[in-house]
Amino acid sequence: MIWAHVLAASVIVAAAPADGDAPVPSPAPATATSADARCGYRWRASIVEAGTDEALAGARVVYRNNGGVPSAAISDAEGQITVTDLCPGVLQMAVSETDHALVVLRHVLSEADTHDRIELPPLHEHHSSRVIVVHDENRGKPAASDAISGAKLRRVRGRPLADALTGIGGVTVLRSPAGGMGKPIIRGQVGGRNLILVDGVRHEAQQWGLDHAPEVDPNGAGRITVVKGAATTRYGQRASGGVVLLDSLPLLRTPGTTGEVGTFASSNALGGGGNARVDHALARVRGLALRVEGNVARHRAALAPEYALANTGSNTWNGGARIGYLRDAFDIDVGYRVFGTRLGICDCLNVSSSEDFDARAGARRPPGLADAKARFAIARAEQRVLHHLALARARVPLPRAGELHALYAFQFDDRREYDRVRASITGPQLRLRLATHTGELHFEHRSIPVGAWSLEGIGGVNFGQQSNRITSANTLIPDYEQTSWGAYQVERLVHPRAELELGVRYDGIYRRADLRERDYLGQSVTGHIDEANCRASGRGGICEHDFHAPSGTVAALVRPLAKVPELSWAIKLDSAARTPAIDEQFMNGAAPSFPIIGLGDGHLGIERTWAGETTARYDGAWLNVEGSAYASYIQNYIAFTPTPQEGPCAPLTCTVRGPFPLFEFRATNARLYGGELRFDLQAPRLPLSLSGTGAWVRAFDLRARGFLPFIPADRYGLVGRWSWPDTRASAHGYLELSGTFVARQRRADVAQDFAPAPRSYVLLGAAMGVEFPGRHHVVHTSLVGANLLDARYRDYTSLLRYFADEPGWSLQLRVSIEFAVARLRRD
């Protein structure tokens, strides 16, 4: 019998223990006793995953008998839970498990012994019971990864993707001067070496520009996972440095309506916005589920402690809809999502010549910004982007074989960039349109017993077709068409004490670049064209390149002590291939945001990463520690290096705007190594917790015997938290204080940079939050303060650092209501 008011998503009390946000009463073992022991009623339940009926161990049940003090219990290995010594009357329960949506139950106890079956909807995509999710990177895998979901994700709502990830050790932001956006840096690797997957679809946009933030809305995601280190074998091209996976909440599988409506406001940059999501599953047509979601945000230009960062305002909006037909025999769903943004580029970055740049770089106050006001209006220079994503997915369980998954997606990225130009010019100076089709088919075979071990595996093929059109009077990168494909197989042998993983992949990519006459002739004269693969055409020249490369992974995870299953140790070796990106092959022009001329090289070949990493982890009841170390050697690492020129402007090159430095993409060999350390300490029986992170990266250009640029400095964070007890009206209340220390990047080549690395800095933050559960809804509130000491600082990995300080103190307030209107279903 099920009495479920289903709240799909991690809601109310006891949400997502992995978040560390769960100040629930200490869970008792599978059999719990009520505070009021006089009545002797008993309630038992089997907790299973909806759809697969798999028993869920470790699920938490927080319950209140007749409005009394909440208590908690936890399910055993068979998913069983027993609560004794209850009194007749109302029993309210919130049942949660890390990877499943929370279910809220209200039960009227009228019999002395009641047994229920509780189905928790999975937060990951649906799988049949015969397969184990191989690609769930969330836990217990040899690869180092981290995920944010539930309450933790809710606290970063309204922030751009890269910022939402910065709480994860080893992840920082390469901040662009446009509207505070940025792209994630994973273990020192950025841009074309990181892959972003949105609902399994490779995000395809103009990744090459240093100031092009990914056109991805983190607010639509139910969980964001970062895989640190090479993951090319499973995910293919661009995954040689790391992967960011954004997964939407699954559609509803049981009839009902759920959703969330929220709003947020920020003091710096002043602004705010709102978001809404409604999910509905029809009772009349069983299996038919719908979702509509959207959000808007508008921010004024940000304020640095001493001046306004004029023209850094932003407007963003997102909208999407999905419809699915979800049955046991198969699932199919289609969806569409559009991301729109308009970002102002800081007036402080208004650099038009090398001399201009030198005058501005390193100045305490950016010239011309003295009287600048922070405004909502956005003026030139600015970027406007629309990113459309349409997708269709299917899942078909095959009896006794496994499960087949198919995915097709079309993306269209439309980017317009507006420079400061003469008043008579109204249009964009650069327009980039990228259309991408992607398709993937993969098969997860059923678990095959091999003695005490079981063999799990996934194999698949993927295909991509891409077409880029650039409209600009200047040369920068050429139009191109690209076809790519890949095939992979990953197998894992799993034992309760150990796991072994072996994966192989083969990738191919064919690219046809269409260079205009001026571009082709210019690059031919300077020897940057690979003549063997290029030919003159009517318009200029055509260059065709074909790349093929294998990748592979070997990994192992062991739990060395039988008596301490919480302790695990993993090791992973990777060989990952990356083909040169379009800009690395053909860039020819002034690089965006910088007074430099950038040149690609058509002769560049495959960049190969040889990487090793090891992670030790202890997941105890009150202590959680994880340490990772990694090292990689990258053959033919493609680096953007300054190249002295001969001629009248030597060592620079003459342009009509004065002499500019010339940078070329060149192959070198690089070595990266580093580590991360994280601990979470929950004081036993006290509402206090302490967590800390540290991350270190070292990166060297072996040919130039120097350091690689834009590598994050050493970073340390410490968070102390007090969780106040739940009351009749509120739950999950907390107050926390955090500090971040970022060291000065001493491993930077001053000769190859435009300004010395900025000083070290300390940022102080604070946050508080509380939830108010209702019968059919939960109200989540949080107040987050950042840079509360109003520290004046610059960050080594921010493009703003040459010109201006980072924003000063800010407060962000978030309120959201998560609701569920469910039908009662009686089995």
């Binding site: 005058a359 003469r422 008043a423 089709h437 402007c649 003459c654």
Partner: protein, 195 residues
């Protein structure tokens, strides 16, 4: 298949303000042959360096100097001088270098003396009212013999926060070696020999 989703190239107006060629025309005030030199960067912001021709002038002569700006990257080439004239209140050409003495340059040992020979009202409405020089038309007098550099800078000075950036101080700042406001649209240097 994807190509069908995209308009063909050239179907959209390409709006730019590229300048690829700067031409100086020096016409002797007392009659005689014109001297023309240019800086040309035929691939724009590409990897091929632009080149400036050398300028050779007789000593003790006065010239009318006009500056012409061209975008040679479009077909047909686009005359940018007209556009600068139309927005004269937001542009100023500064003539400087170690061979020049004038409003924007204070060389200790100059080879030429520069003065502006135009005003904003020669080209467009003078709405601000200061009627400042623009520098498309100038007067240049050669002094003693020698060689040095002549630098031509076009600064774009659009109003900032509603206030005009162009003022009489722009040239003075340049003469004192201070960075003037606005942006650089042109910054080219010619080798000058006066004999």
């Amino acid at each position: 298949m994807t190509g069908a989703c995209l308009p063909a190239d050239g179907g959209e107006e390409q709006e730019t303000e590229i300048i690829s060629r700067v031409t100086l025309t020096l016409t002797p005030a007392n009659g005689g042959d014109q001297v023309t030199v240019m800086f040309d960067d035929p691939d724009g912001d590409g990897g091929v360096s632009g080149m400036a021709e050398a300028l050779l002038l007789p000593a003790g002569a006065t010239f009318d100097l006009t500056v012409a700006l061209l975008n040679g990257l479009t077909d047909p080439p686009e005359d940018i001088t007209r556009e600068v004239e139309a927005e004269a209140e937001e542009h100023q050409i500064l003539i400087s270098g170690d061979a020049v003495r004038g409003p924007a340059s204070s060389a200790a040992d100059p080879l030429i003396e520069h003065t502006y020979a135009d005003r904003e009202s020669d080209y467009a409405d003078d709405s601000v009212g200061e009627d400042l020089p623009v520098g498309i038309r100038n007067s240049v007098t050669t002094l003693g013999p020698g060689s040095g550099e002549l630098r031509v800078v076009l600064r774009h000075l659009p109003p900032l926060a509603g206030r005009p950036q162009k003022s009489a101080q722009v040239a003075e700042l340049a003469a004192m070696g201070q960075p003037p406001p606005g942006e650089v649209d042109v910054d080219v240097t010619f080798e000058l020999t006066v004999q």
